[in-house]
C-alpha cells in the first residue's frame, strides 16, 4: 500500500477534532480558552460572551435586544422530519426563545454552497426555510451567498442570525432550590433519526427529527408563568445531560431527575438500547427545558401541554441545595450521576 502524503505523526491535542464540535465540555473549553478569549469580561448586567448562554442580551433603553447566531452543517442535508433549512430557522428561533425573546424581529441567512450543488435541492431548502419562518412568525431580512470549489466543503453551510426585542430576558443560570424542571417533549428524536439516516444502521421505524420552532410554545409558558420561569435552555447537541449540567453548574444547584418521568418515545428508547446509547446524550431540536418556581409549575405544565408541540410535556425533576452543580438521576431502583457525553455519541457493541 502507498503511504499517503500529508499524514505524519502529530502530537495529540494540537488539532481541533470532532469532539470539539459535539456540544459537550470539550466544545465549551475550546470556546472559553481560545475563541472567546479577550471577550469574557462579564462586569455588566448584559448577557454577553462571558455567560456562554444561547445568545446575547443587550440593553436598549429599558428593553432587551436579544441576538443569537448559529452555523448549520448537517449530514444528510435532508433527513426524516426535516432538512438543513428547517434546522437553520428553528435552531436560531429557539435560541432566541429560550432567552425569553419570542417575537423575532428578523433573521439573516448566509449560505456557503459547494460547487455542483443541485438547484432543485437549494429550492427545497429555501422552501422549508419559508415554511419554518411561517410557523415561527419570523422572516429573513438579509442574507449572503458564497460558492466554494467542489470538495472544499460538504454540500452546504447555512449561518442564521436572529434578533428580537424582549421586556425581560431569561438566562440558563437562574435556577434555585425547589424550582421544578419541565421538559416540553420527548428526547432523542433528532439525534437518533440522524444517526440512523447517516450510518446505515438498518433500523426501520418511525424515527423522525423533532426539529421545530418553539417560540409559540415558549410564549405561552412565559405568559402563564408571569415571571415564575427562572431559566430555560434548548437541549441540542450534548442532549438533555449537557443542557441540565450547564444549568446546574451556572445556577449552583443540584438537579434531581426522575427517570420514569422523562418522556422518550418507544422507538427512540429501543434504538438507544440496540445501539448502546443514553437518550440523555442524544441531540434534540424541538424541545426545551424550563425551570419554574414550584407554585407555578402545574399551570405552566398545563399551558405547554395545550400547545401542539408540547403534548408530552412533563415535570421531570426538582432543583435542590444538596449536591450543587450535579445532575442526579433517580432510576426508580437507585440513584446515579448523569454526566455529559464527550464527543459525538457512537454506537457501541460492548
Amino acid at each position: 500500500m502507498m503511504v499517503r502524503p500529508g499524514i505524519g505523526p502529530q502530537p495529540r491535542d494540537e488539532r481541533v477534532t470532532l469532539k470539539h464540535g459535539a456540544g459537550g465540555r470539550a466544545m465549551r473549553m475550546l470556546i472559553e480558552e481560545t475563541l472567546a478569549a479577550g471577550f469574557l469580561d462579564g462586569s455588566t448586567d448584559e448577557i454577553g460572551l462571558a455567560a456562554l448562554d444561547d445568545g446575547a442580551a443587550l440593553l436598549i433603553g429599558d428593553r432587551w435586544l436579544v441576538v443569537t447566531t448559529d452555523s448549520h452543517v448537517i449530514h444528510p442535508i435532508f433527513f426524516p422530519g426535516g432538512d438543513i433549512g428547517r434546522l437553520a430557522i428553528a435552531g436560531t428561533v429557539n435560541d432566541l426563545a429560550v432567552m425569553g425573546a419570542t417575537e423575532v424581529l428578523g433573521l439573516t441567512s448566509a449560505m456557503v454552497i459547494e460547487e455542483g450543488f443541485l438547484h432543485s435541492d437549494l429550492e427545497r431548502i429555501q422552501h422549508s426555510m419559508q415554511e419554518a419562518c411561517r410557523e415561527a412568525g419570523a422572516k429573513i431580512v438579509t442574507g449572503d451567498t458564497k460558492v466554494m470549489g467542489r470538495g472544499e466543503l460538504d454540500g452546504i453551510i447555512i449561518n442564521t442570525t436572529g434578533v428580537a426585542l424582549a421586556d425581560a430576558v431569561v438566562s440558563d443560570a437562574g435556577l434555585s432550590s425547589g424550582d421544578r424542571i419541565l421538559l416540553t417533549g420527548p428526547i432523542g428524536d433528532h439525534g437518533i433519526a440522524l444517526m440512523a439516516a447517516r450510518r446505515g444502521l438498518g433500523l426501520e421505524g418511525d424515527l423522525r427529527s423533532d426539529v421545530a420552532p418553539l417560540n409559540g410554545l415558549i410564549r405561552r409558558a412565559l405568559d402563564t408563568a408571569k415571571g415564575a420561569i427562572t431559566a430555560m435552555k434548548d437541549p441540542t447537541r450534548g442532549g438533555l445531560a449537557s443542557a441540565l449540567t450547564e444549568m446546574a453548574e451556572k445556577s449552583q444547584v443540584g438537579i434531581v431527575i426522575e427517570d420514569a418521568a422523562v418522556p422518550v418515545t418507544p422507538v427512540v428508547r429501543s434504538a438507544a438500547e440496540i445501539l448502546g446509547l443514553d437518550p440523555f446524550h442524544i441531540a434534540n431540536e424541538g424541545v426545551a427545558v424550563i425551570g419554574v418556581r414550584p407554585d407555578a409549575a402545574d399551570a405552566v405544565l398545563a399551558a405547554v401541554r395545550a400547545h401542539s408541540l408540547g403534548q408530552s410535556c412533563a415535570i421531570i425533576g426538582t432543583c435542590t441545595d444538596e449536591h450543587p452543580k450535579r445532575l442526579i438521576l433517580d432510576t426508580g431502583i437507585g440513584r446515579r450521576l448523569v454526566t455529559e457525553p464527550e464527543g459525538e455519541p457512537l454506537p457501541r457493541i460492548c
Binding site: 502507498m2 499517503r4 505523526p9 438498518g202 431502583i333 437507585g334 464527550e342 457493541i349
Partner: protein, 378 residues
Amino acid sequence: MPDESVRTSANELKFRDPSQARALADRLSGLCEEIAREPISVMHVCGTHEQAIAKYGLRTILPKSLDLIMGPGCPVCVTDMPEVDEAVVLAEDGALIATYGDMLRVPGTAKSLADAQAEGARVEVVYSAAQAVELARSMQQEVVFFASGFETTAVATAAIALQDDLPPNLSILSAHKYVPPAMEIVAQIPATQVEGFLAAGHAATITGWGIFEPLAERYKIPVVVAGFEPLDILAGLVRLVELVKDGTPAVDNMYPRCVTREGNRVAQEQMWRVFRTVGGRWRGIADVPDGNLRLRPEYAHLDARVRFEIDIRRLWQLAPSALAEKCICGAIMSGLASPSDCELFGKECDPENPVGACMVSSEGTCKIWYQYGGRPDL
C-alpha cells in the same frame, strides 16, 4: 401480528420492576448481615454488567459490606497498544478502517484511531460486522475490519469470514479476546480477595456455563452466570452471596433464558473453525495464555496481518505519553485498586483525554466511575 401485542410481550423481557429490585436488594443485605464480616468481595468480569449497574444506580442500593469489584471485563480496555498501533498504521497507509464505536478512542502507543482520523485517515464506525462487508463492496479502497470483542462478538466476525462471496478488498484485523483464561489469571493473583465471580451472561451464551466448572473446582470459588437487566444482576448477586455464605464452590446459572450448560454449539463450531487461541498481552493485566483469538492459517487470505506488512515500530519513535507510566489500569482491572486510588484519575486522565484504556471504553472502570460517580453518596 398487531404491534401492540409485540410490544407488550417484548416488555416481559425487561426485568426492571423497582419493588422487586428493592426486595432482592433487601435479601442481599440480609445475607450479608448473616455472613457478618466485611468486606465480602465478589467480582464481575463484564463491562456490560458494570454499565447496567451504573445505569440503574444499583450500587446505591447494595449493602455497604458487599464489595462488588469490576474485573477485566471490557474487551476494548484490554486491547493492547500494539494492536491499536496496527490499526493506526494501516489507516495511515491508506486503508479504510471499519471498527466498532468503542475502539475509536482507545489510545495506542502514540495515537488512537480518532487521532489518526483527525489527521486525515479514513475510519468508519460500524454497528455490525456485516456493515464492514457492505462498505468494502461499495468501494475500491482496501477495507480492514478492526474486530474487537469477546467470544460473543467473535462469532459475528467468524460468520463473516465463512461467507463465500466476500469482496476481495476486505480483510480482518482481529483483536478478539477469549474470556475464560482471563478469569483464571485473576483467580491466580495471590493478593486477590475475590470470593466469587459473577460471570458474563452473553459470553456464556456462546460458551455455556459448563466452561466455568473447572475454574470453580480448581480455585474453590463459586461462579454465578447472570444476565443484564437490573433484576438479573441483583438475583445473580443474591445467588452468589448465598454460595459464598454456604462455602459452596459451585457454578450456578441465573440466566437460563439465554445460557445453557453447553452453550451455543452452532456458534462455537463456527468460531473455532475460523479462530484459534494464542497467548498475548491484555493491556494492564498480564500475558494471558490463550487469551487472544486470531484467524487460523486457512483464513490467511482474510488476515490483515498476513496481507499487509504492518510496521508499527515507526509509531514507537514518537514519545509515548509519560503519564502512561503512572496509570494503574492494570491493578484496577485485576480488582486490586479502585479508580480513586489513581493519582491521574479525574485530573490528567478524564474521558476527554484518556490516559489508560479504562477511561476510554464506555464500559471502562474509570470512565464509569468518572461518569456515574463511582460509589457516590446520593
